[in-house]
Subunit: 347 residues, 2 copies
């Protein structure tokens, strides 16, 4: 241990030649301790660089003014932007935000909870990992009286406030648009996981096909992890079919980008031969050529609303039970070159 | 306050009808406390859902097994990847990682330190914000005995271990490559800030021009915040010049991407008329058309090395002073279509 050991109440006690429990009581502003002793303890604490915000405050009222956020990965523009929205509201209320990443790994997600509890957060805001099917770690935090709010990747298995977007509607709008562009064999990239957002997007896709009487082909639904590489291999798979699709709607922008790369490498024209659309409005979707049609999720707004629902926990009286609220945001279809078949020069 | 108050040693004391200091001593495994009492305290702590990892551990040895990371923004692929490298090493040693973002804002950076200290981290790993010129907040953490290691955006104003890449070399290689492609009027997008990475990239640019006897034009060096929008306006500015550049080397990938958008909108061929290169190897650089020449910073490796230097703090004996180390990684030039003038079809 090359670093200096942290200063504890025992160091203060030693310096003043009093007991640690007296120090603890003094720091807790216990009326049984004289003002003279309290002043001496505070002075010594300052000299020794003891952090009163820290343990003393925890003993006093259990408030750290820190909110812990759990996200699968902080580098997705979507999650980054939700976090930004949460921080905006939290900072106004003098709360600070720390982030822990689950990397969509169940074990790591459980550990993020441990880390945030050790960090003595006043509450947790989380988006659940793709592979999580057991929610006991979240239940345990609730049992400890730590407020929990979920966003985007939520579950009804927990009694919590949650903020999500209408994934069904977003997917429906995309497929409706592709049909209006003249597409009749529309493929879909989805996830095999039991995550509601992907199930809802699949449902929106199927309902739009049904409502517009466009045939549904089982073979055009490709399941994968929806990353860039998955989009590439899913597209390769579709191109092996006897009758190829005339459009692909990927439940993630990354998957759509992988498909675009393969189509460009093979000289297949987008959107003329195959139209493309993603979901999420990641910044790179506007950089690609053609730019990618996608669905915007109002991530900043989602963050702000999530934070507001979170702070509701601190407004109710001690005897009131907070009634969990579910907020569903309407997403927006962003139409770009990758699907504008009608306007594109004929090949 | 609707959430349950956190369980403290006082609750345990009350339940067992003993003093809080006895509870504290029992939790600290103090030999003056009987085994029977220790067992009773542990049992009560469990029943009350008291978190022994937390305050008791802090009183015991000041270890939380949490490392706090400060990054300007966690959504940059570069920072995300460094964090991943740090977590890889940290998790192997049973340390957890929490992240706090400074958003390149000095005031927020100071607050991130406060948040991490309140979260009782065992140490801090940071990349300094672009606008930070006073380092007292970092000095204060060092004075508290909290180990600090810096990566990428570092400073010699602090006596700390640091890991960076050879920005000078990366920039030199880019400009050397552009010259070899036949470019003779090479513009550079840089930052007006006193951040060493940008100063080093500028120096590499100037030295490569000088070594290859390619003229340097003051008017071709454009200062901005290097975001996408800045890249757009910097490119517009260059296009106003009487003699336009035949290449642009942007000190950030975002700036280069903004320039690419403008050039494509105006029908200026890349790389035939103007070659382009960025810095950082953000994932979107491989999605664009043409794909962007850039510099890879071995971010995952940087994270791993940073973590290893960090853990050196816990290896030295109590009387040894840790000698700060500086590790400089060699970056790699990634040549892609945006600068391959020689191979591109003539326009």
């Amino acid at each position: 241990m090359g670093s200096k050991p942290k200063v504890t109440i025992h160091h203060i006690a030693e310096k003043l030649n009093i007991t640690a429990s007296t120090v603890s009581r003094a720091l807790n502003d216990n009326p049984r301790i004289s003002e003279v002793t309290k002043k001496a303890v505070l002075k010594a604490a300052k000299q020794l660089n003891y952090q009163p915000n820290n343990i003393a405050a925890a003993l006093r009222n259990g408030k750290s003014y820190i909110i812990g956020i759990i996200v699968p990965t902080a580098d997705r523009a979507f999650f980054a932007s939700v976090v930004r929205g949460i921080e905006e509201i939290a900072n106004k209320l003098n709360y600070k935000v720390i982030i822990s990443q689950s990397y969509d790994n169940y074990e790591k997600e459980v550990q993020t909870i441990d880390a945030l509890l050790s960090a003595r957060v006043d509450g947790i805001i989380a988006s659940i990992g793709k592979n999580t099917e057991n929610f006991d770690h979240f239940k345990r935090t609730q049992e400890k009286g730590i407020p929990l709010v979920l966003f985007d990747r939520t579950t009804d298995a927990l009694e919590v406030s949650q903020v999500m977007i209408d994934d069904y509607l977003g997917a429906y709008k995309v497929v409706e648009h592709l049909i209006q562009q003249g597409c009749r064999r529309i493929a879909h990239f989805t996830s095999p996981k039991k995550v509601s957002i992907f199930k809802e997007r699949l449902r929106g896709y199927m309902d739009a096909l049904r409502d517009y009487e466009v045939p549904f082909y089982e073979e055009l639904v490709i399941k994968s992890n929806l990353q860039l590489e998955d989009g590439r291999s899913s597209m390769e798979e579709l191109l092996q079919l006897e009758v190829q699709p005339d459009a692909v709607f990927s439940a993630s922008d990354y998957g759509a980008m992988g498909a675009l790369q393969v189509l460009k490498e093979k000289g297949i024209k987008v959107p003329q031969q195959i139209a493309l659309a993603g979901f999420g409005n990641e910044p790179f979707t506007s950089f690609s050529d053609p730019a990618l049609t996608t669905v915007d999720q109002f991530s900043l707004t989602m963050g702000r609303i999530t934070a507001e629902l979170f702070f509701e926990h601190f407004k109710t009286g001690p005897d009131q039970k907070l009634v969990p609220q579910k907020t569903v945001l309407k997403p927006e279809l962003i139409i770009r070159g990758s699907s504008l078949k009608a306007d594109a020069p004929k090949s």
